[in-house]
Amino acid sequence: MDLGTIWFILWGVLWAVYFILDGFDLGLGTLLPFLAKTEDEKRIFYNAMGPFWDGNEVWLITAGGVTFAAFPTTYAVMFSGLYSALMLLLFSLIIRGVCFEFRSKVESPGWKKLWDTCLFIGSFAPALLLGVAFANIFKGIPIDQDHIFQGTLFTLLNPYGLAGGILFVLLFAHHGALWLAIKSEGGLRERAFAMAGKIWPIMAGWIVLFLVFSMFATNLFSNYLRWPLLLAILLIPVGGLVLTKVYAAKARAWAAWGASAAVIGGTALFGVMGIFPALLPSSLNPAFSMTIENSASSPLTLSIMLGVALVFVPVVIAYQIWNFRTFRHPVTKDDLDYEEAY
């Protein structure tokens, strides 16, 4: 397997991991106005994400950074072409990012409400925009022979793009609800499971709809038709979809969340494998697509970066798992009284 292909796989995996991790806090932020009824419950939301959200977000920085390092031409075309969408994503993440630190710093209901609103917008919008962006990547965007994007923000808001946006919102909200079930107790925990249960059928239906839509709107299935064995990847999201419902019904929060992670990760990988070897297909002409071949870095860079990744990524995963284990317990009233709590 050549370096370009190895990096393509790593690139896909990085995006999948980012969606699995930041997905739960973006989902949780989206659910804030719907599930948190009291001030204490709102604080539980913030503290449920507190030890994790920033470390989760770094997977986005890494995915973007790796796109830049391994496929610089794709990075350049993608970020400049999807300018408006990415700026909206960026601003949403910026306003989300400050909520955690700011909210508890002034004892005023108006102040807290402001940041709660920012958390909601800063969670819902990124989910929607990431879904729109990736659906459009799966579908292909109008890039011409000079790799210039011949469209606007509204080009991306086509039906398939919007379907992808809604898909991500549903996936992340479901994922966030299960995280809340892990990190809460009593009535809130029950409501978290109930919310996951309510979202599940909509999400499952939407996944099916999205897959069918993909058959008509994209070339995602062409790789799978050529190598049908690859369809085995669908076992991950489908299996996860079934298991998450089973575990949630048994109130096994971690297991349900893990299965939900499989749904998200599996969906992302399905899409990425579908566009291989293109990273940014062109809807104008396949010859204009950004591919491994026409956008990869030099072999020297790819091999050095591979060495760096093989050393550092396992270390990162190890200490992030340690972090999740250290702070796995539900957020209790005592935790809210803790001096440094959000």
Binding site: D54, G65, P72, G97, V98, I304, T326, Y338
Partner: protein, 432 residues
């Protein structure tokens, strides 16, 4: 206003705002770690309170550093796509390493530190903030290695219409970049020291918890005294590097027009960029510029006129920024020396304490001025000698950038103001 100008303004604005918050992160993380370590080793609860008090300010500041940092990674692609395509082979890797090796470490362990006071052992909890300090300073290294490549490209070969990596070793051992790095982080330590001193001085003037704030002041003082001297001395050697590899920038820094030997330095110069001269040149120190640039009074220092006008950086801005930085740097040395002499009788010197409160913005201005020298002085090049900034911008609609620039100005000024408001609010609280 075209795409190029708007993109320049946007990048400059976004970076300047980011760099309000970053230096304090770099330096204060070390000070907080030091305070907490003293607590662990002595059991003295005052140091625990200090770690929490200054730590809270650290965290308020850190939040803005994080969110404004996101923008920068995006911006290379959004607004400078041609640049990204041209040097991504090298530049992109450095950014990816910054994220993988440093950002993950920093963001994971800062959260552990915030939430882990009761869950972890005293020692391990202190280790966490040291990890944060290490990771923050490590991330600065990688981004400055990347900037260093822009300033003094090496380890590359031009192939396939772009700069491709030829020697990773050369890229990461780029002496110019390391010199920039040391200068930046040590400057950041001055800032952190002045922040702690200034806030402590405010409390000491009001006789709040004098033991706590005297101890804090002295920690800030030691840090800032050493750092302000080192940054000046090392700044000189960095200046030698600039003279060697970026002669046009050096000439602009001093508004030096005519190539010559035994070049004096004028304490007062007023540049007249349009007419390629200085309208005023007064208080000249003989051969000083030759000495400063090359450690040799007879050294030849190239003047701006040696460079075609399109190869010169904006002179007035570079010149003023440099003088501002050096002036403030000198002031800060004087203030730290004064503090050192009065360190045992701080409360008997209210005038000094008041100066230290007013001096809080000084290192902020100095650091921004320094970066202005580095980046404005590098113009017209985005990669020195290889690619011009005007050829690097993305082929996108002007309206998009106009809107995003306006959004940045509004959102950033709002968030920065709120952050500064919160910093001031929590800085004023008196610890029990």
């Amino acid at each position: 206003m075209d795409v190029l100008m708007l993109s320049r303004l946007q990048f400059a604005f976004a970076t300047f705002i980011h760099f309000i918050f970053v230096p304090l992160t770099l330096g204060l993380s070390i000070l907080v770690a030091y305070m907490e370590t003293k607590y662990v080793r002595t059991g003295d609860e005052t140091y625990k309170k200090m770690a929490k008090f200054w730590g809270k300010l650290f965290l308020i500041n850190f939040a803005l550093g994080v969110v404004t940092g996101l923008t920068l990674e995006f911006q290379f692609g959004t607004n400078w796509s041609r640049y990204s395509m041209y040097v991504g082979d090298i530049f992109g890797s450095l950014l990816a390493i910054e994220a993988t090796a440093a950002f993950f470490l920093e963001s994971t362990f800062v959260a552990v530190w915030v939430f882990g006071w009761k869950k972890l052992s005293k020692t391990f909890h202190a280790v966490c903030i040291w990890i944060v300090a290490f990771a923050a300073n490590l991330s600065a290294l990688w981004i400055i290695l990347a900037n260093g490549f822009m300033q003094n490209p090496m380890g590359y070969v031009i192939r396939n219409g772009r700069a491709e990596l030829d020697s990773f070793y050369a890229v990461i051992t780029n002496g110019f970049a390391w010199s920039q790095y040391v200068h930046t982080v040590v400057g950041s330590y001055v800032l952190a020291g002045f922040f702690v001193m200034g806030v402590s001085a405010w409390h000491l003037l009001r006789k709040h918890n004098t033991d706590f704030f005297t101890k804090s002041f002295r920690i800030g003082l030691g840090f800032a005294l050493v750092a302000s001297l080192v940054v000046a001395i090392q700044g000189h050697t960095h200046g030698n590097e600039v003279a060697r590899v970026q002669p046009a920038k050096l000439a602009a820094m001093e508004s030096h027009w005519e190539t010559g030997k035994n070049v004096p330095m004028y304490l007062l110069s007023i540049p007249d960029e349009k007419n390629e001269k200085n309208t005023v040149e007064a208080f000249g120190i003989p051969s000083m510029l030759s000495i400063l640039a090359f450690n040799d009074p007879a050294a030849e220092v190239k003047g701006l006129k040696d460079f075609a006008p399109e190869d010169r950086p904006p002179v007035t801005l570079t010149f003023l920024s440099f003088r501002l930085m050096v002036g403030l740097g000198t002031l800060m040395i004087l203030l730290t020396v004064w503090g050192f002499l009065k360190r045992k009788q701080l409360q008997d010197n209210p005038r000094y304490l008041q100066f230290m409160v007013w001096a809080i913005p000084a290192p902020y201005l100095a650091l921004q001025a320094g970066w202005a020298v580095a980046e404005v002085g590098r113009q017209p090049w985005i990669v020195y000698g290889l690619m011009r900034t005007k050829d690097a911008v993305s082929p996108i609609a002007t309206s998009q950038v106009a809107v995003s620039l306006a959004a940045f100005v509004v959102v950033y000024l709002l968030l920065a103001s709120l952050d500064i408001y919160l910093l001031a609010k929590y800085a004023r609280k008196v610890p029990a």
